[in-house]
Amino acid sequence: MTAVLAASLSSQGHSFLTPTGVEIVFVLVGLAVLGAAVLTVTTSQLVHAALWLVVALGGLAIEYLLLTAEFIAWVQVLIYLGSVVVLVLFGLMLTKAPIGRSPDADSGNRWVALGVAVVAAATLVTLVVDAFRSTWMDLSSGGGSTGANGEVLFRYWVLPFEALSVLLLAALVGAIVLSRRHREEG
């Protein structure tokens, strides 16, 4: 949603009355993503929620593609659609996710959750809009290519990248330790 607003605002700065085809598609896909995301949290059928999440995450990948960030788009598909959603579905299948509605899927916290979501969205929208204002970014092809990403990542962002890999390694070791202890008890 943030991205949609940012895009429509920045296009206002450049040429409000003549949006290009890509911008129109971008906004439309953004609306579809928003709709799918809302359905993800409102549907009372558990597995449907996971499948709507697939639509939302896949739509985001299309948004990345439209912004010429080809590499990020495929990574999004690989990690989120190919792995995360499959894990979510796997988890759901291990529970007794019924066909049809789960009456106990409604949370008593829904209004609090809505409040948190609105506040988070408002913060992000304000942040992005305030950060970019009417900056016009030229989306020339190749700007988001694998080569460009790699250069930026390993020239300017090496330290965060390495710190993240240490974090992931710690998580991996932690998972192994936890599963080993579990096995000795059982």
Binding site: V75, V77, L78, L81, G82, L87, F90, M93, I99
Partner: protein, 320 residues
Amino acid sequence: MITALEALLRCLAVLVVFLTFPLVIGQTEHKVMAHMQGRLGPMYAGGFHGWAQLVADGVKFAQKEDIVPAGADRRVFQLAPAVALLPYLLVLIAIPVGPGGFVGQALDAGLFFVLAVMGVGVLGSLMAGWASANKFSLLGGIRSAAQLLAYELPMLLAAASVAMAAGSVSLTGILGAFHWWWVPWQIVGGFVFFTAGLAELQRPPFDMPVADSEIIFGAYTEYTGLRFALFLLSEYAGILVLCALTAVLFLGGWHGPLSADLGWLWTLLKTFALAFVVIWLRVTYPRLREDQLMRFAWIVLIPLALAQLALTGIVKVVIS
């Protein structure tokens, strides 16, 4: 206008390949399996050695009633075959067949695209497994999800090794950088990739999610007619994609004698030779258990893939 027409023609060509080559592989499987087991296989349909058997099968599937179980989740149930099949069609677009732009669409991050989109196909069997409202289907679905944990990592690591060797994640770029000595250099990665791919396709010896003799075809138990045929087609399209990818990444794709003129023939030859191996494995090996696959993946495949990655790195540093 010309480029639009060309793009359309390329897509059409990919579609034709997608609709015919899996059938060729399927028919080969019929015959090869039969001969390996001392049988003849289909002999009557179409006259000459039963060449039209799969066409007849297709007609049969199309005539059958399309049943959706009363307890099933209708929409998810009906959508699942498409989700299982379409990724392979998309992947086929990005696989280079011959030199000089003989590819549906060359992508900058082709390797990522191919692996990412292939991974989406698993969602199809998960959807089918859950939406059928059938215990065996659910077991099949759970098994395919569990299997994913085993093959995803070694497959990506093996593919990363080739990308590292070539210094490119574009499939055409990888082929452009290929030299013959890559085959022995990357052979371990090739083995890991091919094996993990077999697990992804749920082919024997890794066919626990479909295991017809234990859980009656798993996620596909409740499917009939055309939708079932689509699942079968996706399996054979998957074999085509996996073999073509292995050929491109590890066996040099169109490289070979006279590759300027006959490059596409080399790709096809390598692809079908690998497809033969896939069939051969089905006839030869018994089915593993899910935990045996996990064990195999974590104790054999991932260490091998990591060793290959290290070897690639060392050689790359030494020769550069």
